[in-house]
Point group: C2
Chain length 517, copies 2
């Protein structure tokens, strides 16, 4: 068995089922090895950010790693932005990066870069493979490391991929959560019983069903508010779940909201901070006088921690908690007339089906959507946790491959969409049930808002030229069709409702360009 | 004057005339400062790789730096691949990366990354600005550093961009080449007079007119062969210039070609190495027994070095050298029938106008083009020096902006084109005279060749799924039109000739999809 085969068989044994790849010459042995491994499906992305973003979406949905396969330093570099987003989202990813043959490195060939340095900017775990024999253990350790919510980067020289090895032992990942600390549970319990205004701020796995139900129990007994950070990686939402408030994007309303709390218990999430630093406004958003208490560590299972806290508080079981803690079914009606950002949000909320996966990179357009969705039929909601543009379309690819029996709707800003537009081709190639709603406001609108915040009263021609996306208009229908995705353009709420219903009723990907006034 | 204004004024004084930008919130002060600086034109790219690739193209044409403006670590990450290509091409670039406000860094906000680590993978010079007062000197030093053929990365915190400063002294770059070493010239001269089979291998500025003429003089007196590395960043070519042989891509023919030489004098280029390491084949392509002599250093002006060598050899002046050393005018005729890679090359060579700039990222399709062009009317030719895909379309943007009175033809592989397809939008926005020829062979053909080289007789279905680009076909006409570029599709040599003539006769960008059999 050669090193590449050892690596691929170890991945399959560890439960990896998919490999998002954009390989090159140095990864050919792994490509060949994939041909003899029935358990792993390779999926091609025409740009590496598609591969890493798809792995992020896949990992967020299933809470297990996909594999990615990238070509040398440049392949990694193109994939870094979505690895950054995955790192911030704590998504498990096993990223394999091919490297030149060990003996060829000294020649400093054209494509050589310092891969280790590049990878370290996003690595939770990182290793450069040192021998073909070690490839099985390296891969197994990468998988285990990823399962703590990290990007694991394994760099594999080409000659070690080819090298035949006598070893045929396939290693298995060793993974287990760290035990819960009863003392911290007790401390949190005392804090929350102290009759002070309390926020329970949750993140990570706590935003999945079991965690949300535990949080609902805690709210039922303590009356605390339930919050999460501004951009949760993955949250289950809708009727029957507690409504989780998100910390607003701009620091002023965030500080305003959080100023009410005397106690903040944090589980699966760190203390919220401002996205950007603005002169005279603090980085940290919770008031100084608020007592902050992180109840878990990154290596613990936050769901078990929350359940233990609920039990310590003698919270009622989920089946007995008051309906006021849980959202009731309530759905807006489809608005009418020319499409605005507000109407786009309302229409989507009015039309989206049960169990849909919403991938939100709608930025200034989608900001009003979340508050409309607490009472919708249950669904999953994913946001741009890491803040780096170009996550949406690839994330939708990964989510659709993770959950082939569910619909994916990608609420996508036109500016952001352009960074990783190549993802549409993979959506077409794999016939994925993804409907992309392009928010065509034809500008980097957030930058215009920032210019106004900075006190610029009239934006000059050069600044405008760096924030406007018209001249020329991007024709999203043509681009989508060019990449194999059927598309339509709408400029009314009725048109959006009609096209969205049509897209959801037909298999395969669709794109709807929403021309916004 | 605030820090951003100081920076922008310093750039203008240093002769920087263009800024390829994809800014974000942290770079708003620089965006605002550009509005009051008439000397610098901002050009928006919808993906950072477009900005860095355009700066590469601009720098290659003019041998002077463009500025780029990128947003934080993620913006840099998306720009790294074309900075890598620029680094390998020794293109001067001054890359400005915005950073969070210094006091906000400790909060580890979502977009924070280790920018210094990322940048160091491509930096020839690098600095993180430490105070607003230092911004002028930092920028001037960045410009000077870039002019030695380097990427200069300057990281500028947001609060220092805003900060008002009493300083209004605008620093100027201090740049000069290191003096020539007469002893090395003499050594090289002795080597080349020793009546052994000699290669003069030139690169960098030596591939511009003056350097080529000096090389022709040396060839005229010594009979040496003139070569350059496989992928020259920029070469002037055609009738009246000496024909410069390129080292072949695959190591076997390269080693075969170079085995003839007993002496290799290198000027502006390092010893050629194989693109990839193949088992049993050496990394270095010149034979061991060949005496290698690098005549210059990176900080010297290779043109002056070559002229000094020509003089030391008592070479005749250019006006007196034999016509056999220089290429004579000779142009192929347009072929006919179904379009193949060979016919695409022939048609382009037959039709291209004098003074055209050819940006070649045609890979397996364009491999036959260069040998056809020695006798064409004089033109410039740029190749993928760094090997990282996605250089062509952005490079064409930069070349067209550098030389607005010249035509640019981008010979572009369909696989490579997808990495930075966003560049077409900038071509449309700026009405650039760029004609893109898409080589639609609908596969990563080079990978199929590598699989055959690796002894794979029949490519399995999974390996095929990672190398084929059909299913669905990419419709380049629709994509181009979606991004504002008029487009046509051809499948015959006659059709290509006709559409190419039409594209060259109309202002603004065009795209021609060449469907290859």
């Amino acid at each position: 068995m050669n090193g590449a085969e050892l690596l691929v068989k170890t991945a399959a044994k560890a439960g990896i089922e998919i490999c998002f790849a954009n390989p090159g010459t140095t990864e050919m042995p792994i490509v060949i090895a994939l041909d003899s491994e029935p358990g792993i499906k390779p999926v091609l992305g025409l740009f590496e950010g598609v591969c890493t973003g798809a792995a992020d979406g896949y990992g967020r949905m299933l809470d297990k790693p996909a594999m990615t396969l990238l070509h040398l330093g440049p392949g990694l570099a193109d994939g870094i932005v979505n690895l950054h987003n995955a790192r911030r989202a704590k998504t498990p990813i096993v990223n394999i990066i091919g490297e030149h043959a060990t003996w060829h490195r000294a020649a400093d060939p054209p494509l050589a870069m310092d891969i280790e340095k590049l990878a370290s900017a996003v690595s939770g775990w990182q290793r450069t493979n040192k021998s073909p024999i070690a490839l099985s253990l390296d891969l197994a350790e990468a998988v285990a490391a990823s399962m703590y919510g990290q990007v694991a980067n394994l760099i594999v020289p080409n000659d070690y991929q080819w090298a035949e090895s006598a070893v045929d032992h396939i290693a298995a990942p060793q993974f287990s959560f760290a035990p819960i600390d009863p003392e911290r549970i007790e401390q949190a319990s005392r804090l929350m019983r102290a009759h002070r205004k309390a926020a329970l701020m949750i993140g990570g796995r706590a935003l999945r069903r079991r965690g949300l139900l535990a949080a609902a129990r805690i709210k039922a007994i303590t009356g605390c508010d339930l919050l999460t950070d501004g951009f949760p990686p993955y949250i289950e939402r809708g009727a029957g779940f507690p409504d989780i408030m998100r910390v607003p994007y701009f620091p002023e309303p965030a500080i305003d909201l959080l100023s009410a709390y005397e106690v903040a218990v944090l589980a699966g999430v760190k203390e919220p901070v401002a996205f950007f630093g603005y002169k005279g406004i603090a980085s940290k958003l919770l008031p100084e006088k608020c007592e902050k208490f992180r109840i878990d560590t990154d290596s613990q299972n936050v769901v078990e921690v929350l359940e233990a806290l609920a039990d310590a508080l003698h919270a009622p079981p989920y089946s007995k908690i008051s309906a006021t803690v849980l959202s009731e079914l309530a759905r807006p009606t489809v608005p009418s007339g020319e499409l605005t950002a507000e109407k786009a949000c309302l229409t989507l909320a009015a039309v989206q089906p049960e169990n849909v996966i919403i991938v939100d990179e709608g930025l200034t357009t989608s900001v009003g959507y979340y508050p409309l969705t607490a009472g919708l039929a249950p669904h999953s909601y994913l946001t741009l946790t890491g803040g780096a543009l170009g996550y949406g379309m690839p994330c939708a690819v990964g989510a659709a491959l993770a959950c082939p029996d569910r619909q994916v709707i990608n609420f996508e800003a036109d500016g952001s969409a352009m960074y990783t537009v190549q993802a549409l081709w993979t959506q077409a190639r794999e016939s994925l049930n993804v409907t992309t709603l392009i928010c065509a406001n034809r500008s980097y609108n957030i930058l215009k808002i920032e210019l106004i915040r900075a006190g610029i009263e009239s934006i000059g021609p050069k600044a405008l030229s760096l924030t406007d996306l018209d001249q020329p208009y991007i024709n999203w229908v043509r681009i989508a069709e060019g990449l194999g995705v059927p598309a339509a353009s709408v400029n009314t709420a009725e048109g959006l409702s009609r096209e969205l219903a049509r897209a959801l009723s037909e298999p395969g990907p669709h794109l709807i360009e929403m021309i916004l006034v």
